[in-house]
């Protein structure tokens, strides 16, 4: 990858300044990577001694004429910006992302691991009631959907995760979610045994988990 023969960086003026084409490349890279517009003085400070960033900027600016981005003066500094006629392309970029609430992420996790799960089951595991807004939010995000009704008294609806959920979390199927043992191995679970667990080792707990799921299609051996 590294271009040995291009090794630059002559601080002292014993060496000639790099050719203008190289200087142009340097200005291009600096403007691209900087988080703020860069002044000519700062360009000069960062480039090899004897460089002429002002002239390089003239060339670079010309090079970008009519392109999808252009080299613009912002105050007395320079930056690369989208060509104004292409601003319409930037629309998708505007999504504001927020973190899911703890209630929502826990509810989602329970549905993912225990699906199909009823509201009562979710509340049982979380130990608190699940607000309507939480479920609605997950439905709206299309990360969960209604599954089949449970054939128990009251015929409660169940929730399952969606393809969009799998896509978002980079999973090929809900089966690929790591089990308790793997969570523990990854350091996500405390290794403390539950009080009074006695001889019941980690293996047993994992089996408990599998059994509690009652979901042969998800956690079958």
């Amino acid at each position: 990858m590294a271009d040995e023969e291009q090794t630059p960086a002559q601080e002292d003026s014993l060496f000639e300044a790099p050719p203008m084409g190289e200087q142009e490349r340097m200005v291009e890279a600096i403007l691209f990577a900087s988080a703020e517009p860069v002044s000519v003085a700062e360009l000069a400070a960062r480039m090899p001694h004897g460089s002429d960033p002002a002239e390089a900027l003239v060339h670079l600016r010309k090079r970008y004429e009519g392109r999808g981005v252009r080299v613009m003066k912002v105050g007395d500094a320079w930056a690369i910006r989208t060509a104004p006629d292409l601003g319409f392309l930037m629309h998708k970029e505007t999504v504001e992302t927020r973190k899911l609430s703890r209630a929502a992420i826990e509810t989602l996790a329970i549905i993912a691991y225990h699906q199909p799960a009823t509201r009562a089951e979710i509340e049982d595991i979380r130990g608190v009631s699940v607000s309507r807004g939480t479920i609605d939010q997950l439905l709206e995000l299309e990360w969960i959907r209604f599954g089949r009704r449970r054939m128990t008294p009251g015929r409660p609806v169940t929730f399952v995760v969606t393809q969009a959920f799998l896509d978002h979390f980079g999973l090929e199927s809900a089966r690929d979610l790591p089990g308790l043992k793997e969570l523990r191995a990854a350091g996500l679970l405390d290794n403390r045994p539950p009080p009074g667990a006695g001889l019941a080792g980690a293996e047993d707990e994992d089996e408990d988990l599998d059994e509690a799921d009652g979901q042969p299609e998800l956690f079958e051996e």
């Binding site: 988080a35 930037m90 826990e106 979390f169």
Partner: protein, 264 residues
């Protein structure tokens, strides 16, 4: 293994090799386990890993373990397991094959060990080459001013797989400490006991052992018996306080007896 033979082997090594072997022992914490150590030893043979002498390697390793014993250095168990295996391998390689023996031949085992060493070395080299590549944020860079310009605001909620797994792990660990779902049928609340006792004490005019008030079946399972006993005892205290019940206990640890209080 004869001590003498071992000494002889040690003498056969050059001074520099011996120093190297001793350095290995002192440095054993610096190795990531027996395979790592074996790989280092294999490199001292100064040949292509494909041509490494597994027999020589086994002897070198066993010599190393022996020397550690002399120097009273404690080796971790996995080093000793490897030593035992290499001793077995050595005997397989040296003895003529027993036709009655079913297991894999010494040559096969040696070839696999050589493969493991070569593979580990290959992965180390690969890792080094990977890390020597130009890296993002060090050698090349992303756009410094990403333009998220447009003003159409849409809120999107994000969560990572880590968030999800951590949330689940949190819930599951809490479960381990407070398995309320399973507990529920082994727990009797004081309210339940109070309700039951209120109905029952009317029938018993004489002193009765508190234990006999436990609901049927609850005296068998220890967890249920404990919960029901505690709830019943608390309930009798409550009833005594209300003046409906008398309690007595003949002696420390003697059975607790109750009877309905005769009013008036």
């Amino acid at each position: 293994m004869a001590e003498q033979q071992d000494e002889f082997q040690a003498d056969a090594l050059s001074v520099s090799e011996r120093l190297a072997a001793e350095a290995l022992i002192v440095d054993v914490d610096g190795y990531e386990g027996p395979l790592d150590l074996l790989l280092t030893m294999a490199r001292t043979q100064k040949v292509d890993l494909r041509k490494v002498s597994v027999l020589g390697l086994a002897e070198q390793y066993l010599g190393f373990v022996e020397k550690a014993r002399h120097l009273r250095i404690e080796l971790a168990a996995d080093y000793l397991v490897m030593a035992a295996w290499l001793a077995f391998l050595k005997s397989r390689l040296l003895l003529p094959p027993d036709p009655a023996d079913e297991g894999p031949s010494g040559e096969d085992l040696a070839a696999h060990l050589a493969f493991q060493l070569e593979r580990l070395q290959a992965m180390r080299d690969a890792a080094a080459r990977l890390m020597a590549r130009d890296q993002l944020g060090r050698d090349f860079f992303v756009r410094g001013i990403p333009e998220n310009v447009a003003r159409t605001r849409r809120v999107s909620y994000s969560a990572t797989l880590m968030d999800l797994m951590q949330a689940y792990a949190r819930l599951r660990t809490r479960d381990e400490f407070r398995p309320f779902v399973l507990d529920r049928d082994a727990v009797m609340t004081m309210e339940e006991a109070l309700d039951r006792l209120r109905g029952l004490i009317g029938h018993a005019g004489d002193w009765t052992d508190l234990v006999s008030y436990l609901p049927a079946g609850w005296e068998i399972d220890p967890a249920r018996r404990r919960s029901a006993t505690a709830a019943n005892f608390a309930a009798t205290l409550q009833l005594a306080k209300e003046g409906d019940l008398e309690i007595r206990q003949g002696d420390t640890f003697a059975p607790i007896q109750i009877r309905k209080k005769i009013h008036g």
